[in-house]
């Protein structure tokens, strides 16, 4: 069993607002049934980790939360996901609107081939902010928020591709913060990073939790244990167990969860 590094304080669930509520979500890639009857609540200002072996549907699920999954051809869904009480599959819910509230950080750092400044300013710009002063302020605030300001403040107008992998990923987090989202989705954000960069990103997540609700997919159980408040264990497209992280890792209710976290498979 893993020993908990930090003391976690979680308020009773009743008091916390629900950001995302998933009800009977099913998803198919063509004929392949990838998500089966998912039921999951995501709470405000918490880090929710989603763990599970490859192909369990954890990435698919997180991409469904901002409807990024629709970029894959032949995807069908049934059921409901409500974000702050509104069904995101409602045809009147514009996906662009959803994505200004729900930012996403991807598996591999994917900065735009532009300057560091332009990367961060891109989001606010398309959303109608033209004022140079406000943009400057947003860029600085976002880069500080992503704990990368000190490293890049002297070279804001250099190409983002000159940064290291870890820096690029933090830049992508800054880019996401710039539109001041409510929720941040992170799809295995450290899987392409070295241990030191990973540590920095993890510390950053701890910090971001104060202001944002974070959902993180990870294949790394220690990571989930270190940084998350709640953990969902996915297996073969189903939620096997969803509980407070300490509880899930110390006293798993399901045999399969126990097998997975003790390394018996996956």
């Amino acid at each position: 069993m893993l020993t908990m590094v930090k003391e976690k304080t979680i308020a009773p669930t009743e008091e916390k607002a629900v950001v995302y509520r998933t009800k009977e979500l099913n998803l198919w890639y063509g004929e392949h049934h990838a998500l089966k009857n998912i039921e999951l609540d995501i709470y405000e200002n918490e880090v929710t980790a989603i763990i599970g072996p490859s192909g369990c549907g954890k990435s698919t699920y997180i991409k469904t939360l901002n409807r990024m999954i629709e970029l894959v051809p032949n995807v069908r869904t049934s059921g409901e996901i409500t974000y702050r009480g509104r069904n995101i599959f409602d045809p009147t819910y514009r996906v662009e609107e959803l994505r200004t509230q729900v930012g996403m950080v991807f598996q591999k750092p994917n900065p735009f081939p532009k300057s560091i400044y332009e990367n961060v300013a891109y989001g606010p710009r398309i959303h109608g902010i033209r004022d140079k002063k406000i943009l400057d302020e947003i860029v600085e605030k976002s880069l500080r928020g992503a704990a990368i300001w000190d490293e890049v403040k002297d070279r804001l107008h250099e190409n983002a591709y000159g940064l290291s992998g870890g820096q690029q990923q933090r830049l992508c987090i800054a880019r996401c913060l710039a539109i001041e989202p409510d929720v941040i989705l992170m799809d295995e954000p450290t899987s392409a990073l070295d241990p030191i960069s990973t540590l920095k990103v993890e510390e950053l997540i701890e910090e971001l939790k104060k202001n944002y609700s974070i959902i993180i997919v990870t294949h790394n159980m220690q990571q989930a244990a270190r940084i998350s408040d709640r953990t969902a264990f996915f297996l073969n497209g189903e939620v096997v167990e969803f509980a407070e992280t300490d509880q899930l890792f110390s006293t798993p209710a399901d045999k399969r969860t126990e097998d997975y976290i003790t390394g018996r498979f996956g």
């Binding site: 901002n66 990024m68 662009e96 991807f106 994917n110 081939p113 891109y122 959303h127 996401c176 539109i179």
Partner: protein, 288 residues
């Protein structure tokens, strides 16, 4: 076999080298002969191209160059916006199925012989335009320019689409994830990322238009005049070569040599464009 084949194959590979050498030397030698009769200064600076007038002939390339640039410019006004718009549609909006249907059709458009386009320009587009523009002459720059543009659309569309498709999807997802519309993603993120390939496709299209012969020879006319009036009959460099070689300009006459001087000019123009396109796509290649 093991010893002979590599040598034989090297020989075939050498043919392409000899072709280039052949082109360069042919043009150089005959152009030299031409410049022994007509001064190079006249060729480059005179404003009239009157080769047929034996007594007071004038060999200033300018009218042929402007004729070429005029039709090329019109063609680009059609081919670049339409071609780029199709490229954006195919690479950013279309589903895989639509793409699979439309791309072969564009290939067909590119595969139609240019003489057919020339026929189309002269017998269909020109009469049509004459109804809209009353002063339009039977031979003019506008009609072949437009038709040439249509012919070049597939080239711009296909090369630009290749450049845009090679931009990794991860970058697109990054933009869409911030709430960008597809338009914003295409124009603000993908297009700048693919800029080198896209611009190179424009330059290649210009080169293609400059060297295009049959459309302008059939529908552009044979009046080498220094004008930017698109309703008038003009003559391009290529159309001049066609005019001379169709007629009976005897071997050894100044007119005969003049087609090499014009051909040389044409060659230099298109080569410069091709080298520029290669330079752009190499120098500004994006690394993702």
């Amino acid at each position: 076999m093991e010893k002979i084949m590599p040598k034989l194959l090297l020989l075939t590979a050498a043919v392409s080298m000899f072709t280039t050498l052949g082109i360069v030397f042919t043009l150089l030698f005959e152009t030299f002969t031409f410049f022994s009769r007509v001064s190079i200064v006249e060729f480059l600076t005179a404003k009239e191209w009157l080769p047929w007038n034996e007594k007071s002939g004038s060999f200033g390339i300018a009218p042929l160059v402007t004729g070429t640039l005029l039709t090329t410019a019109i063609a680009m006004l059609v081919a670049i916006p339409v071609g780029l718009a199709s490229a954006i549609y195919l690479s950013e909006y279309a589903t895989e199925r639509t793409r699979k249907i439309i791309k072969p059709i564009l290939e067909v458009l590119a595969g139609i012989p240019t003489i057919v386009y020339g026929f189309f320009a002269l017998t269909f587009v020109t009469p049509l335009l004459q109804k809209i523009i009353p002063g339009l002459e039977v031979f003019n720059a506008l009609s072949p320019g437009l038709v040439m543009g249509i012919m070049i659309i597939p080239m711009v569309a296909s090369l630009s689409e290749d450049a845009m498709s090679s931009v990794p999807n991860a970058i697109r997802e990054g933009a869409l994830g911030l709430g960008s519309t597809k338009l914003e993603t295409a124009v603000k993120i993908v297009l700048p990322a693919a800029a080198s390939g896209v611009i190179a496709s424009f330059v290649l299209a210009i080169s293609r238009a400059i060297g295009e012969t049959m459309i302008v020879a059939v529908a552009g006319g044979s009046s080498p005049v220094l004008t930017f009036d698109v309703t008038q009959s003009i003559q391009t460099m290529t159309a001049y070569i066609v005019q001379v070689t169709t007629g009976d300009a005897g071997y050894g006459t100044t007119i005969y040599y003049s087609i090499y001087a014009v051909g040389m000019t044409l060659f230099v123009f298109t080569l410069a464009m091709n080298l520029l396109a290669q330079y752009i796509s190499r120098r500004f290649r994006e690394e993702y």
